[in-house]
């Protein structure tokens, strides 16, 4: 039991950077803009966050710097794709290369330097709840923030009017405009916010999970965050589920490795990917439609909502107002 709790707890806190990155990207894409620079942004902000925290000896400033770096990269994506109407994928891809290389170049003085890190912060009373307490409430501020972000974003999308409008501009911007939405302004705001979250994810990496800075420290997690957004069907809860699933598979790889199982260890880190492809194939198949059609209406709708993952219809397109 102890062991099980320890594993769950480590999955939750180790997944925090991916949660921030994939939810930041979810925010971008729900507004209709693909920010393909996640990997590069995370690298640059991980470096910047660590460098600032190391120099100023302030973790808060480190995270703040990382968020600003994330927002700056995102503002380039926004300017290129919304104002200049260039291809979003091309802009994001170039930026991911540039930001990644920039992090290696600027980060040289900080490679493998021991630096500050986030301390754990158990929450009184809540930590005493059996099982739930040690799993959820003996963590640190970053992990708690990741919980809050998941719930907060879900509430924002589905319970608030601005959240509904956000879903609208990603789905059909011309209809949002007809209903009084300022499409370009809202897209700018959400890209900057999403970028800041991705930047935060970078700092959560270098100051929380994989302490310190080294060349290419995020090891492709930015790309994985992009894949998780698709896996999660652009829904905060499902995206979070995808991120934790990925974390769980990675954790089981480490555990099984140490238990001496006769399976090549390389298999486990790779497992999430075929699993994602499989789920996407199943959830978007016509066969599922056929099965769903046998169910009563209420159950059918609930399941459709749960399983369907259609990208925002206007994702990657430009909006031209008459």
């Amino acid at each position: 039991m102890e062991f099980f709790i320890a594993i769950l707890a480590s999955i939750l806190s180790d997944s925090a950077p991916i949660i921030f990155a994939s939810l930041g990207e979810t925010l971008n894409e729900r507004g209709g803009v693909i920010n393909l620079s996640v990997e590069g942004t995370m690298l640059l902000s991980a470096m910047a966050g660590f460098a600032v925290a190391f120099t100023t000896e302030s973790l808060v400033l480190g995270f703040l710097a990382a968020m600003i770096v994330g927002a700056i990269v995102a503002s380039l994506v926004a300017f290129g794709s919304i104002t200049l109407k260039r291809d979003q994928v091309a802009v994001g891809f170039i930026l991911t290369l540039v930001a990644g290389d920039l992090s290696s170049f600027l980060g040289v003085p900080f490679v493998r330097v021991p630096g500050p890190q986030i301390e754990s912060l158990p929450i009184p009373f809540l930590r005493d709840i059996p099982f739930i307490g040690p799993v959820f409430f003996e963590r640190d501020i970053i992990t708690y923030l990741s919980f809050a972000l998941i719930i907060g974003m879900w509430l924002w999308f589905y319970k608030t009017q601005p959240g509904l409008q956000l879903r609208g501009i990603g789905e059909r911007p011309e209809a949002s405009f007809a209903r009084g939405g300022n499409v370009k302004l809202m897209r700018y705001i959400y890209i900057l916010l999403g970028g800041a979250l991705i930047g935060f994810a970078g700092a959560a990496f270098s100051l929380h999970v994989k302490l310190g800075w080294s060349h290419r420290a995020t090891a492709g997690f930015g790309w994985i965050a992009l894949a998780i957004v698709i896996f999660g069907g652009w829904d905060p809860l499902k995206v979070a589920f995808g991120a934790y699933l990925f974390g769980a598979l990675r954790a089981s790889a480490t555990t099984l490795q140490s238990s001496g199982l006769e399976v090549p260890v390389q298999v486990f880190p790779l497992l999430p990917f075929p699993l994602m492809i499989l789920t996407l194939v199943i959830f978007n198949s016509r066969g599922l439609d056929r099965v769903l059609n046998y169910l009563p209406l209420g159950a059918r709708r609930a399941l459709t909502r749960l399983l369907r993952s259609n990208p925002p219809a206007a994702l990657g397109t430009h909006f031209e107002q008459e």
């Binding site: 009017q161 609208g168 789905e171 405009f177 007809a178 209903r179 009084g180 709708r301 219809a313 008459e322």
Partner: protein, 489 residues
Amino acid sequence: MRVELKNIHKHFGAVHANNDVTLTVEGGSIHGLLGENGAGKSTLMKVLSGYIHADGGEISLDGKKLKRFNSPADALRHGVGMLHQDPLDFPPMTLLDNFILGCDASLLQPRARAEKEFRELCQQFNFDLDTNAFVSDLTVGERQQLEIIRLLWLGARTLILDEPTTGISAPQKIKLFATLRQLAADGKSVIFVSHKLEDVEDLCHRVTVLRRGQMAGEAKSPFVTERLVQMMFGQQLNIGKRPNVELGAPVIEFDHLTLKDDRLTVPDISLSVRMGEVLALAGLEGSGQQLFLQACAGLLPPSAGQLRLNGIDLTRKPYENFLRAGIAYMPADRMKEGLVPGLSIEEHIVLAKRGKKDALIDWTRTRQTATAQITDFNIKGIPTTRVEALSGGNQQRTLLALLPPDLKLLALEHPTRGLDIESTLYIWGKLLERRKQGAAIIFASADLDEVLQYSDRILVFFGGRVIETVRSSETSVEQLGYLIGGKKQ
């Protein structure tokens, strides 16, 4: 609400899209706005609904003068709502989400209140809409109903409807008209934009006709059709009678053909279509006509039965064989399935060339062919015009121009949908020429007048079955209307 548009001018580059147009719509009336495609109707309505700003002129609502609206939302705040031909809604969302999006709530969604008022509005107009359903599962007619109650909920007192009867079924049209009459009786004003004479005559109290951006005239109900046509076109159009053509040998034969896709089964069709014959497929959208056309074209292999062309068995043969046998298929969605956006007319001619192709393209000859086709088919464009820049009518003519010369069978899906009367007549003129040369034509259409006017025989589809085969000379729009609704008299 009384709406007045005075001396509206609007230029797009060199085009004077609205030239001194004045329109007055009384509260409690349904006002028709009639005109061909490109007559300036949409421009005028975009000015009134806040999409574009007029270069000159003024708008007044209930006698109060306004300079202009800043945006569609601004127009709606003043009580002017617009229902677009393709309703501007959000298909993956639920009806309730759609209903709420755009209301003036600041932070939290007013779901409970909205749901209650949604129900009340549905009840008032006798609409059967479920707040938890997804918009993507609705028909166009139901999406219109949703937009209407949404606009009313947000305070619309004048409703503009742009070509609302395109793409909806006959029963839905009846319901829509009843709703509009109810709105007018409540003192609201309705502006009904259309190029369909019969709809305008049926519904409107007054009508304003636009031609080439100018007012061509006004008329009051009851209308005189010839007079309206004359205003629209500046001349009387000859709606040509179909010349009689001797029918020849059977071109295509179906023997107990059964078709299936994952939604629908079309069981057991046996019939043959002869040279020079025009067969119409009538029925509500999605009743099996499309499957039948695709099977004719070799795009959908039948799950049972046989299909012969000129006596040769083509059942489950590849599409190539159908092409070589002289079958052409024109899908309904011109831009998605028919033409390639981004390519020019001459590039399409190269693409459509059948038979042996050279490795290099002879552009000089292609351009000559393109120029000849453009003149022959009266396409408003030049060989290098990209197809997406053409109007709907010109796109359809381009598609026709791309068909190879010696066809045995043309399978057409909604050949004139969304086109104005002039283009429609032109296209049918070209099609009937093919028929005179011995081709058979099978076409699906939702326009019953078109079905009756051009076909020799009509297959009526209902829920996947052919419920009746009638000769066009022995039926009427009324009878077809019943059959399409599944009622045999």
